[in-house]
Symmetry: C2
Subunit: 204 residues, 2 copies
Amino acid sequence: MNERDVPGAAKAKDHRARVTQILIEKAFTQLLRAKPIHRISVKELCEAAGINRGTFYAHYADLYDLLAKMEARLMADLQRALEPLLAEDAQEPTLLALTSVIFRCLKENEDICAITLGPHGDREFTARLLDMARERCLAVYARRFDATPRQLSYYYAFVSSGCIGLLEKWAQEDMATGAEEIAAIASGIMVYGIEFLKAPDLRE
Amino acid sequence: MNERDVPGAAKAKDHRARVTQILIEKAFTQLLRAKPIHRISVKELCEAAGINRGTFYAHYADLYDLLAKMEARLMADLQRALEPLLAEDAQEPTLLALTSVIFRCLKENEDICAITLGPHGDREFTARLLDMARERCLAVYARRFDATPRQLSYYYAFVSSGCIGLLEKWAQEDMATGAEEIAAIASGIMVYGIEFLKAPDLRE
DNA sequence: TAGAAAATCAACAGCATGTTCATTTTCGAT
DNA sequence: ATCGAAAATGAACATGCTGTTGATTTTCTA
């Protein structure tokens, strides 16, 4: 029988395949630090990774496919981390609990985040990221505040994108500070607005 | 003598050049609505615009150069609009005044915003957009609140990106609502945080 | 150790790129 | 209205990357 047959964890790949995948991804992330994806060629990537170009095409359709697959892994990770909090029957999570889970998960995927959230990342992905939690969060807000749907959606648009911005800054600083601290800042601003700047407990 | 010699307004171009520029930009924005820039070829764009490929290269180095030039125009517009508010000797603007000016300017450049803020837009540009007002805004905050620089920078990161998110949503809705209303929402959230959802004056 | 899977290498046609040059069209100024 | 300048066109070109194929070699798994 198979030693591992977890449905979500996909196929147990060949050792060689795993190595080349790592080589490719590492070279890719390094290149992406230096220039935007559209300035990178498959040829170039393969030379940097030290693998054959044919091998690349055996795994990915093109660079964007590669990027998409890396992003998909991150999404799945986040989904898994968020699942217990957002389950229908679960207790309503606090904003801080939510952001803590998210930021902790993203810290574990720092290398990918550094790309997708960096200046060369794609907006489409962050949009998908936000979409994941939208409905649930809106439902929670709607239950707690009797605001109009329009107000709610605007608030969510602002606040979720704000978290992304904070994330970006965090990633720029190589995620040096703890995930919990950043999460506290995020929820602090979300809740208190500009009063956050007066909150003495967050001063350093 | 030259009829027009405004230093900022650049060169008074030939009538033909202006026409082709418009044709190119129009075709470009239309294509960008359908697919990301990396799926668009120069050949394709020129056919859509009904111009010769050689003509395109006479004006731009590549598609990204074209995009950059369009973005630069928007930036200059915004800079001009913001100048009086952010001048050293000017009275300190309210958050609402600031956002109003910004959102109004962006509404006037709706077509470009729809691209750069859409899912296929580039993060680099929005980052530059935020950078423009950063120092000044931070200085204003620092004067009003005695928060640490670190707190300030986090707050700014969150809030400016939040505005972008709001902007995005607004652009998705074809900027149907007035710029002032959106600006009020933005500053409302920035100031009041989640209390914004209870503010009765903004209910519809 | 044998068979299967993966990586390599070489070669290929196809295509977009970016450039050049001669030619034609259009503009602006006289 | 005309002339010279500027811009657009069309064609042709070398170039480089692309994506695919088939034969071969290496490496893993059972």
